[in-house]
């Protein structure tokens, strides 16, 4: 795995030490290096307010920064572990309270989708993300953490609290499932029902 901040091990160590000592620039650096991936991960996993949740995640990260020991890879696992827990909290809370979603005209299911809408939805990552969202929850977690958060198998295992072998098996099954869905000879499948998680 490569650090998105383009900082080597020594550079990261100095940034971390400065952040732990209370240097504003170092905390900002950690935020700039990791927040985009965290926000992308939260968005891909269905957070309603990914930006706010990302800020909450980093408030926790900075609170616990003093107890963190490790390199850049470990720090990435540390950040995403917090992000994953906060995301699970949000999804759980939403499922308990019931979801209130603002009604937007373009999202009204009674509205017939135009050819342009469908074409746009099939473009780029929208289609791929839509495909990933059809996966079962555990496979989806692994795929999003591996692709969007750019974590290694070991890091994903640490974040999800699973064994590395289990993570590898999940990603293999997820890729097989995606391949089948992308098969042009296959009819489109139903979206996964676990999005209500």
């Amino acid at each position: 795995m490569t650090d998105r901040g383009d900082a080597g091990a020594e550079a990261f160590a100095s940034v971390l030490a400065a952040a732990q000592a209370g240097a504003s620039w170092a905390c900002t650096r950690l935020w700039n290096d990791h927040a985009p991936a965290v926000a992308a991960f939260l968005t891909a996993r269905g957070s309603r307010e990914p930006d706010d949740l990302t800020s909450e995640v980093f408030l926790v990260v900075f609170d616990r920064l003093g107890s963190f020991r490790g390199d850049a890879a470990a720090f990435r696992s540390f950040v995403f572990s917090i992000a994953y827990r906060r995301l699970v909290d949000e999804l759980r809370m939403r499922s308990r309270r019931g979801e209130t979603v603002e009604l937007l005209a373009e999202e009204d299911p009674r509205r017939a989708s135009s050819a342009e809408d469908e074409a746009a939805a099939r473009l780029g990552d929208q289609r791929a993300l839509a495909l990933i969202n059809t996966l079962p929850a555990d496979q989806r977690d692994v795929m999003v953490l591996r692709i969007v958060a750019d974590l290694t198998v070991e890091q994903v295992a640490a974040v999800l609290g699973k064994r590395e072998g289990a993570v590898k098996a999940l990603q293999r099954r997820a890729l097989e499932r995606l391949r089948k869905k992308l098969d042009p000879t296959r009819t489109p499948g139903r979206p996964s029902s676990d999005s209500e998680e």
């Binding site: 030490a17 209370g22 991936a37 800020s55 003093g66 890729l175």
Partner: protein
């Protein structure tokens, strides 16, 4: 034709957005994943107000600074106390101090404090108990059940000395005291009267002796100093505890020297000197215990006799 399963190596290539060698059928999947990778890379989101403030002025989280950071509960408590008036703050501080002292006292009594703290606690308690013991003995000198008060004790000392100076013999004095004890035990059971009288006589005499002994000059001052120090938030802590310990040791040394200089053996060592007034409810048991002394000549040395 059966499709080949994706291996771990191929999975790594696919997740990187590349098509595995010899697997052209996976090109579409690799392209989709590459798109997700590309498009998920974005700029950092706008931090919330709380996070922006935190980024603006971060809190050190390392070493002593991190340890010194108050927890959320402490922060809330500090904020609450900050909003109180002066009187309320003083009351709150007293309460916290009292709770702390009670907690430390309980732990010290149970011997549960860490070794250095336990040593300090033992020193302080030893000093305080010795002082209390002296005071109680002095209080019993006047033959009443009033708890010993140093000032009263001094007056009684004078009385005792005066009586002795009047030229009464020891037997007359003891008879007088014996009679006094009997009077004081009127209303109690007859069987316990004698024993009580004997014991009271002995203890009174010892008490007189003990009472005649002046208090060490530093005792009150030391007690006051400990009290004041305990109420001073700047002094409560390890350094103050060590200071108390040192002072207690010095005071103990001074008292030992004074006793040796006065040549008073105090054979009772506080055991036989415990107050034994006839009005004390607990004396019935003591009287029964000391009933074996019944018939012993009044002048027989024993127990705490000087």
């Amino acid at each position: 034709m059966r499709k080949r399963m994706i291996t771990d190596t191929e999975a790594e290539r696919l997740l990187a957005g590349a098509t595995p060698e010899g697997r052209p059928e996976l090109a579409a999947l690799a392209a989709s994943i590459a798109d997700v990778r590309t498009n998920s890379a974005a700029a950092a989101p706008q931090p919330s107000a709380a996070l922006a403030a935190r980024l603006e002025s971060p809190v050190p989280t390392t070493g002593a600074a991190a340890d010194a950071q108050p927890t959320r509960g402490i922060k809330k408590m500090v904020a609450t106390i900050a909003g109180l008036g002066v009187a309320a703050k003083v009351a709150a501080a007293s309460g916290v101090l009292a709770l702390g002292l009670v907690g430390v006292g309980a732990a010290g009594a149970a011997g549960a404090l860490p070794a250095p703290a336990q040593e300090v606690f033992d020193d302080v308690i030893t000093t305080v108990l010795v002082t209390e013991d002296d005071t109680l003995t002095e209080g019993e000198t006047d033959g009443t059940t009033d708890e010993g008060v140093v000032e009263e004790c001094v007056v009684d000392d004078g009385t005792t000395d005066g009586t002795t100076d009047e030229g009464l013999t020891e037997e007359e004095l003891e008879a007088d005291l014996y009679g006094t004890a009997e009077e004081s035990t009127e209303g109690t059971t007859d069987g316990s009267t004698d024993g009580t009288a004997d014991e009271t006589t002995d203890q009174t005499t010892d008490g007189t002796t003990e009472c005649a002994e002046p208090l060490p000059v530093g005792s009150k001052e030391f007690s006051a100093w400990v009290r004041e120090g305990a109420q001073d938030p700047n002094k409560v802590g390890r350094e103050f505890g060590q200071a108390v310990s040192e002072q207690a040791r010095e005071l103990r040394g001074e008292k030992a020297e004074e006793r040796s200089e006065n040549g008073q053996g105090n054979n009772g060592n506080g055991q036989g000197n415990r107050p034994g007034s006839g009005e004390d409810d607990g004396e019935d048991d003591d009287a029964a215990d000391t009933s074996t002394d019944r018939g012993k000549p009044a002048g027989t040395p024993g127990g705490g006799r000087p």
